[in-house]
């Protein structure tokens, strides 16, 4: 099968800091992956990992400092117009449409940018409005739409020219569960299974990646850490349980994690504190043997609000592989090496 997307040794650096103290930050650090035609491929990583930068490079919105990108066999640096015709782009956030125009007028404008007009354009818009259940609101101004409806119109725009490749950057970010569900099912069932579109989906929702993607690339601090199917990730994890503790009053979390890490068979420990409640995750082969020691250690510092033992999720795999939670913000943490 031919590759729809080929990313080879792509590097993108940005300058950060004040004038005399400017330094290079690696947003994407030597990314390599191929996506065969028809695959739904996920790029999973925390905020600031480099997902959006990579998507912008693919969409020809950014010029990489090094490396090459091919879309349907064409290099984007030499055939950018042909590549753009094959690409449909959807980003997160509500602000990507003309709020003072109707949904239909928005689509008409963007259709013109792809050379669509007349009957062909009207039929395509009609089809997409029907497909995305937007017919009743198509003549209303975007400012009257809900967030989910705006995202549906954005999705319709990405599909106007029937592209072979779709770049979906956090498509369900900020949507309520009902619209998220609709968008996920639409991506999987209609776009991928029925229309066989090649889809690159970025997300920091592990359940979304797990549910939708055939293969997933973990990206952290600009680097592609690993690429596997969700099943392979979970299968290859050398432990089977995750011990989760919800605690309050923890004064020195780093010290506590060190102590927990030193317990027998513990593979990884992470913590996350919100509103004075600390969630501690311990990844290990079996939780039961260390349960009493763990409780004792935590009680020395604070109060235990809840304990849970679960099977690993993709998030646990991500923590195991990268040492970072998906909810962390890792931007600005990866300076380029000094020459």
């Amino acid at each position: 099968m031919n590759n729809a997307i080929e990313v080879k040794d792509v590097v993108k650096k940005f300058k950060r800091g004040r004038r005399l103290k400017k330094r290079d930050i690696f947003a994407v650090d030597n990314a390599n992956f191929d996506i065969p035609e028809g695959e739904l491929f996920g790029l999973l990583g925390p905020n600031g990992a480099g997902k959006t930068t990579l998507v912008r490079c693919l969409a020809t919105l950014l010029i990489p400092d090094q490396g090459s990108i091919k879309i349907m066999g064409k290099d984007i640096s030499t055939h950018s117009l042909q590549c753009r015709r094959q690409l449909g782009l959807l980003t997160s956030g509500e602000r990507s449409l003309y709020w003072k125009l109707s949904g239909r007028d928005n689509l008409k404008f963007f259709a013109a940018l792809y050379g669509l007009d007349g009957k062909e354009r009207d039929m395509r818009i009609e089809y997409l409005m029907e497909l995305l259940d937007l017919k009743d609101v198509q003549n209303e101004r975007i400012e009257k739409y809900s967030s989910g409806m705006k995202q549906k119109i954005s999705l319709a725009r990405a599909l106007l020219h029937d592209p072979k490749v779709l770049l979906l950057d956090e498509p369900t970010l900020g949507l309520d569960p009902q619209f998220s569900r609709f968008i996920r099912i639409f991506i999987k069932e209609t776009l991928n299974k029925k229309e066989r579109k090649t889809i690159l989906l970025t997300t920091h929702y592990m359940d979304e990646a797990d549910e939708l993607c055939e293969r997933i690339a973990f990206i952290n601090r600009g680097k592609i850490v690993d690429i596997k199917t969700p099943y392979e990730y979970k299968r290859d994890l050398p432990h089977t349980e995750v011990l989760e503790l919800r605690c309050s009053g923890i004064q020195n979390c780093d010290e506590l994690l060190k102590q927990l890490q030193s317990l027998n068979t513990v593979e990884k420990t992470t913590s996350n504190t919100q509103d004075h409640v600390t969630n501690i995750k311990i990844i290990l082969p079996r939780a039961e043997p260390i349960l009493s020691d763990t409780i004792e250690l935590v009680r020395k510092q604070g109060k235990i609000l809840g304990i849970n033992v679960e099977q690993p999720t993709l998030e646990d795999v991500f923590i195991y592989v990268t040492g970072t939670r998906l909810s962390e913000d890792t931007a600005e943490e990866r300076p380029a090496p000094q020459d």
């Binding site: 300058k15 782009l89 003072k100 963007f110 792809y114």
Partner: protein
């Protein structure tokens, strides 16, 4: 994209821009009354400073004592160029406000085609304004603007605008890169007010007279005033037209190349989506 497709995109952009304008009723009201309000300060200023519309020093510089037609023509022509500079130069900034710029840049359409659509919209709006201004100037303020003079005036205006919109396209490129160009546009506006004969003859100072030769607006204003106020025939203005055509070529090509360069720089810097 073919030429025909690009024309359709220009029209789509025009329709979109007008559609957005129409959704702000207060703007329509302002544009409706602006041509009436614009002229009054000049009339009052004239009365306050020289007791009417005639000035002896003005006559010494231009040969005509009545300065109001001089100023009115300068203002009408500058309406065209400043609306173009603001409208086109700032248009991509507006797209970042809507959040749509990324989608335009990611499409197979050259952003310059979008700018041409903006240009068309700005031209039509400025024309509506200028038509009202011209009607007021003709019927109430004694400017002798006959039908026979409109065609040669429009030829000069178009020759001026072609180059000017090329310049505005380059400005749009700066907006892409540095986002905020209000200060630059304001500065440029005042350079034009200061060194070209919009509100006064540049002969008032040797500095303004010398520097005005570098600004296309100077040539256009001299020619248009020649046609309207001194009944000059357009054929006799061939030297002005050649200068304007030369400036058009330089500004159009220069503006286009500068825009392409700045767009590439923006893509390298990664600031396209920044607001």
């Amino acid at each position: 994209m073919s030429f025909k497709n690009n024309l359709k995109i220009i029209f789509a952009e025009f329709k979109k821009t007008v559609g957005i304008w129409r959704s702000y009723p207060i703007l329509m009201v302002f544009w409706g009354i602006a041509p009436l309000l614009w002229v009054l300060p000049f009339v009052f200023q004239g009365k306050a400073l020289v007791g009417g519309m005639s000035s002896a020093p003005f006559k010494a510089l231009t040969g005509s004592a009545n300065f109001l037609p001089f100023i009115l023509i300068g203002t009408m022509v500058s309406t065209y160029i400043f609306s173009g500079l603001w409208g086109v130069g700032n248009s991509l900034r507006e797209e970042t406000y809507w959040g749509t710029l990324e989608y335009i840049i990611a499409s197979p359409t050259n952003p310059v085609v979008i700018l041409l659509g903006k240009t068309l919209a700005e031209f039509v709006l400025a024309s509506v304004n200028v038509i009202f201004q011209a009607l007021i100037a003709t019927f109430f303020l004694g400017v002798n603007l006959t039908i026979a003079k409109i065609f040669p005036v429009m030829v000069i205006v178009l020759l001026l605008l072609i180059g000017f919109y090329g310049f505005a396209i380059a400005f749009a490129g700066f907006t892409l890169l540095i986002k905020e160009v209000h200060g630059y546009v304001h500065s440029l506006e005042w350079v034009f007010y200061l060194f070209s004969p919009i509100r006064y003859p540049v002969e008032v100072s040797s500095i303004t007279k010398t520097l005005s030769a570098l600004i296309p607006l100077t040539y256009a204003l001299v020619a248009i005033r020649g046609i309207i106020l001194m009944n000059q025939h357009i054929v006799n203005l061939w030297q002005t037209m050649i200068i304007l055509i030369g400036m058009d070529i330089v500004l159009l090509i220069g503006g286009y190349l500068l825009f392409q360069y700045l767009e590439r720089k923006t893509k390298q810097a990664g600031t396209i989506s920044q607001y």
